[in-house]
Structures are given as structure tokens and as C-alpha cells.
């Protein structure tokens, strides 16, 4: 008999574009609330941080808050369990100085100028996906053919996965990251995916190309272990699939439901850039960054936090806090974008933010240019939202044009 699906953790609950009412009630009680994220999660102290300033304070302080579950700094200064192989290279789960060492080598590969070199490739991928939408006929599902179809190939371009391997690579990757799958099935897919990554790393070590992996081994070959290089590829897939597909799908829905706002950004690249920041803030597709562990006792948002307590920072609530922007629940693509935390804050601020912005810009602009008459093919209230995922989004978006 299939198991009952686990309840949706409280910090990921939403109602259409908004945080769920129960989350609103929590945050109305103060910027930091003691919660149990899911029934049965145990009674260790867990805090949900919902205030904009408090979220910035936690994410901006890597000294008093640790993200690492392994080899972590604990109150006694002793280290916990050793990092397992499949956690190696996942930057969001490292504290300084290990984080500093890895991040320093990766940062130059993600500059705005480096990312611009990918632009023609991203444009070509977006065009291919929109061709597929057109071929599919009306109504077509914009999630399957566009929102969820664009990020995978873009990441393959970034990493340097050869064109012929792309479909296999993405299939294995999805199976590897899929959380709904049986353990055994996932382990098998994981092995296949890891084996492919190992071969890719070995090839680049021997004959580095101009891509991201090639540049990393050329500049820092000796400083990275193979496991780290593989892990960094997994990290890019983890960070760059659901977040982008969520933003493309949910953002398109938000634009279709607000035709006046859509008109503002349609043919104006500068307006679109500004609008994307507002969409990032308003939609806040990542529910929360890696949970933090308090390293020492402290008071935060009026609450007494003890060393060892876990803190989960709510991105959607922080980005809807009036402390960030007036009338936070209004979507206004014309306003000056506030300093939102959709890409996080502090030393773990999203490494791929420049790539994400470019991908979203090209994606929305091309979609709107190609299908000027784009509209929903189902009643707005029938749209299903994607709840069981690290990033919020829509399940399907049937459209006509």
C-alpha cells in the first residue's frame, strides 16, 4: 500500500501568489516564532524567522549562525559527523573557512560578463522551447514545454555537457534529485548520474575546454578534489532547475493575470529588468534557504534563542514585510525594486544570480514577443500550484495565443 504523503511543511504553505493565511497569522505575532514545521518533526526548538530585518540579520551573520550539518561549529567547538560523499561540494551547507575556499574559486566563473557569454546559447534554447510550444498546438502547456524545459539545457551549456549527452544527463539528474521516488530507484539513478559526472570531470581534467568545468580545472585543478567538482555540478542543478522553472511558470501566470502590468514590460527591456526584481520579490519562489543553527545563546526578534536551536528563514514572508517596501502585497512592476532577499543574503547569496536574471529576462521577453496574444486556456482558479518542491511554482499552464 502506498504511504500517505507527508504533510506539507508549514513554511512552504501558500495560497496562489501569497503566503498561506496560517503563515500570515504566525508572522503577525512577531518576526520570530517557535514552530513545528511538520507534525511529528519532534520537539527540538525550531524557529521560523519571518521579519525582513531579522531574516537579513540571520542570513548575514555566518559567525553566530551555521549552515553546516557536518563538521559544524558547535557550542563546545567540537565537530559533528563527517560530511557524506553526496554532500561534498554543496556550498550552501558549508561554513567558513571551507565555504570561503570553495566560493572564492567559483565566484569569478559567475560574473555578469562571464554569464553574458552564454546569452546566445540561452536565446537559442528559449527559441527551441517556444518552437515546441508552437508546434504542440493550442492549448499548449507552458510549464512542460517552456518553464521547466529551459533551465536544464541552460545548465548543461554552463557546465559543459556535450549536446548529445544532454537528454540522458537531464533524465538521470531528475531521477537523482526526485524526492518522490523510491529509495532504491533513486540510489540507482544517483549512481548513474554520479558516474556520468565523474567521466565528465575526468575528460575536462585531461582536456579542459572553455566552459565552466574546463575553466575551474585550468585555474584550480589541483585545489579541487574530483568529489568537489562533481558536487559543484550537483549544486548547480539543485539551485538552477526548480527555482528558474518556478519563476518562469509562476511569473507568466502573474503577468497574464495582470494585463496592465504585462503591457508595461512587454516591449521595454529596462522596464522588464525592474519588473523582474519585483516579480522575484513578490513571488519569492524559494521557500527558505538552508536552515541555520544558532552557535550561541542570543535574543532575536524578542525571542530567547539557545545555542543548537534551528532557524528557518521564510523568504516569502520577509519579502512581504512592510519593513522592506510599502504595500508589499501589491505587485507593481513599475516601482523601484526593494532590496529583496529572493537570492538570499550574506555570504551564501546566490552564486548564480546573474545567470538567473539573464535567463528570466530572455525567457519572459521572448515569450511575450513571440506570443503577443498569450492567454490562459483554463479558468484562473483551476491552475494547480506546485507545492512539493524546494521552489514554488505551477504544475501546468495551459495557454492559447
Amino acid at each position: 500500500m502506498p504511504n500517505e504523503p507527508a504533510p506539507v511543511p508549514v513554511h512552504t504553505r501558500r495560497t496562489r501568489f501569497d503566503p498561506a493565511d496560517e503563515l500570515r497569522r504566525l508572522s503577525a505575532g512577531g518576526p520570530v516564532t517557535r514552530v513545528s514545521l511538520a507534525p511529528g518533526a519532534g520537539d527540538r526548538p525550531l524557529w521560523l524567522v519571518t521579519g525582513y530585518h531579522e531574516v537579513r540579520q540571520v542570513l548575514g551573520d555566518q559567525v553566530r549562525f551555521s549552515t553546516s550539518r557536518f563538521g559544524a561549529r558547535t557550542p563546545g567547538g567540537t565537530s559533528k559527523t563527517q560530511r557524506p560523499d553526496d554532500g561534498i561540494g554543496l556550498l550552501m551547507d558549508y561554513d567558513p573557512p571551507e565555504h570561503t575556499r570553495l566560493r572564492k574559486m567559483l565566484t569569478p566563473e559567475f560574473t555578469v560578463r562571464r554569464m553574458r557569454r552564454l546569452r546566445p546559447r540561452i536565446e537559442a534554447i528559449v527559441t527551441e522551447c517556444l518552437d515546441a510550444v508552437e508546434r504542440a498546438g493550442q492549448p499548449a502547456d507552458l510549464v512542460g514545454l517552456f518553464a521547466a524545459a529551459v533551465p536544464g539545457p541552460v545548465l548543461c551549456e554552463l557546465i559543459g555537457v556535450p549536446r548529445d549527452d544532454r537528454d540522458d544527463f537531464l533524465r538521470r539528474c531528475h531521477a537523482h534529485l526526485e524526492t518522490g521516488k523510491e529509495r532504491g530507484e533513486r540510489a540507482a539513478a544517483g549512481t548513474a548520474f554520479t558516474r556520468y559526472l565523474a567521466a565528465l570531470v575526468a575528460r575536462q581534467r585531461k582536456d579542459p575546454d572553455e566552459g565552466f568545468l574546463g575553466m575551474l580545472v585550468r585555474d584550480h585543478g589541483e585545489e579541487f578534489t574530483d568529489k568537489e567538482l562533481r558536487g559543484i555540478c550537483v549544486l548547480l542543478m539543485l539551485a538552477g532547475l526548480d527555482n528558474i522553472s518556478g519563476m518562469l511558470g509562476l511569473g507568466t501566470l502573474a503577468l497574464l493575470e495582470n494585463p496592465g502590468q504585462l503591457a508595461v514590460v512587454r516591449d521595454d527591456p529596462a522596464a522588464l529588468d525592474r519588473g523582474i526584481e519585483e516579480l522575484l520579490r513578490y513571488l519569492s519562489v524559494p521557500h527558505a534557504p538552508t536552515p541555520r543553527t544558532a552557535v550561541e545563546d542570543m535574543t532575536l526578534g524578542g525571542k530567547r534563542i539557545r545555542a543548537g536551536d534551528t532557524l528557518v528563514c521564510s523568504i516569502p514572508l520577509a519579502n512581504r514585510d512592510p519593513a522592506l517596501i510599502d504595500e508589499p502585497d501589491r505587485l507593481d512592476l513599475t516601482r523601484e525594486p526593494g532590496p529583496h532577499v529572493a537570492f538570499g543574503h550574506g555570504i551564501h547569496h546566490c552564486l548564480g544570480a546573474a545567470l538567473a536574471r539573464m535567463e528570466l529576462r530572455i525567457g519572459y521577453a521572448e515569450l511575450l514577443r513571440r506570443f503577443p496574444g498569450l492567454r490562459l486556456a483554463i479558468p484562473a482558479e483551476d491552475v494547480e500550484f506546485r507545492v512539493r518542491s524546494t521552489a514554488y511554482g505551477v504544475e501546468r499552464l495551459p495557454v492559447t495565443w
Partner: protein, 72 residues
């Protein structure tokens, strides 16, 4: 009284936020991906934007300092 910008390149996480927000003042190094200042003492016309960039910096690497005549 004018304003002087200081950047702490040790703290900088290379987010590229400042250079995207105000490219006339901030740049990003091709070597380490971190912030570079095009001008440490920007004109009054961009003062507000400089404050906006400093407020957005995820690591607090951008600080603003009053600069008066005696400092010279």
C-alpha cells in the same frame, strides 16, 4: 561635503548586485569576481543610488563615509 565610498573586498561575495544597480560607480573584477570601484567619490547626482547599492549589498561590503574639506 561629499561622500566617499569604501569597499571591503574581503567581505564582498561577488554578487554583482552593485555593478548591476549602478554600473557608473561599481564594476566587477574579471579576476576574482569581486567589486571594483570606478570612482570612490561619486557626484551628488548618484548619491541616492549609491546608498541604494550599499543597502542591497548582501555582505555589507560597501560603506559610505562623509568627506569634508579638512580630510584633504
Amino acid at each position: 561635503m561629499s561622500m566617499e565610498i569604501r569597499v571591503d573586498r574581503e567581505r564582498c561575495a561577488g554578487s554583482s548586485l552593485c555593478m548591476s544597480y549602478l554600473p557608473a560607480v561599481f564594476d566587477q573584477s574579471d579576476d576574482d569576481g569581486k567589486v571594483l570601484l570606478r570612482t570612490p567619490v561619486p557626484g551628488a547626482d548618484v548619491a541616492e543610488a549609491v546608498k541604494g547599492a550599499a543597502a542591497r549589498c548582501p555582505t555589507g561590503a560597501i560603506t559610505l563615509h562623509a568627506r569634508d574639506a579638512q580630510d584633504a
